[in-house]
């Protein structure tokens, strides 16, 4: 199935892109991050991130669905 991944801040710098569409096997959001981390060499461990699906915070254990937009949220630093 096809999902769109969004990268922000240091993840975007490391991935050298702000988003990508990937073809993946059925799997959890956690597995999506692990694959992306391997592909792009992300320095941030998953435990320090949050994940969002289709514009709302989600749980890493949720299964990705066809057409999902999944964002990996590094530790925030607004303010």
């Amino acid at each position: 199935m096809r999902v769109r991944l969004l990268y922000f801040a240091s993840l975007r710098d490391q991935a050298q892109r702000e988003s990508e569409c990937v073809e993946v096997q059925a799997g959890s959001l956690q597995q999506l991050y692990e694959a992306a981390q391997e592909r792009h060499g992300f320095a941030l461990p998953r435990a320090r991130l949050r994940v969002a699906r289709n514009g709302a915070f989600a749980h890493w254990q949720e299964m990705a669905a066809e057409g999902d937009e999944v964002a990996f949220i590094p530790p925030v630093s607004g303010g």
């Binding site: 969004l6 801040a9 240091s10 915070f57 590094p74 925030v76 630093s77 607004g78 303010g79």
Partner: protein, 145 residues
């Protein structure tokens, strides 16, 4: 922008306009907080910075924080705006304003909102240092903000 809203803004923050929106004859007090770009962070000289946001989620999470503030504190209205893009030293990065009949609630809600915005809203700061390098800030739990 209405009185009860959170907004990510790519334009400079117009504090006077934000204050005017919060005018309310029932309000005895307005507490506000402005976060500004400092010329230093963590001991290093900063030339400027850039904020980026996951705008869709930042707006919904910011609105949720304002809702929580209205539930927890006896306030009349609350607004918050966070800037994104390139900012110079001294520019306003974030503005929070809260009106209430009494100042206890105004102060407490204002503090709650800025703390939660900093902790939860998907916005990231990229600092450019005087020495030429640059860095995304991804604070660890417990870092002083």
């Amino acid at each position: 922008m209405t009185a009860d809203s959170f907004r990510i803004s790519a334009q400079p923050i117009d504090v006077a306009a934000l204050r005017a929106i919060l005018d309310d004859p029932r309000a005895g007090g307005m507490a506000c907080f402005e976060g500004r770009v400092r010329d230093h962070n963590d001991g290093r000289a900063v030339n400027g910075l850039r904020y980026e946001a996951y705008v869709e989620l930042a707006n919904s999470e910011g609105a949720r924080i304002l809702d929580e503030a209205r539930g927890k504190f006896d306030i009349l209205a609350a607004s918050a705006v966070h800037r994104i893009g390139d900012l110079a030293i001294g520019e306003v990065a974030v503005w929070v304003g809260v009106t209430a009949a009494h100042r206890d609630a105004a102060f407490a809600a204002c503090r709650f909102i800025i703390d939660e915005v900093k902790a939860r809203v998907p916005i990231w700061k990229h600092e450019r240092y005087a020495q030429g390098d640059a860095n995304w800030l991804h604070p660890q739990a417990g870092d002083v903000a």
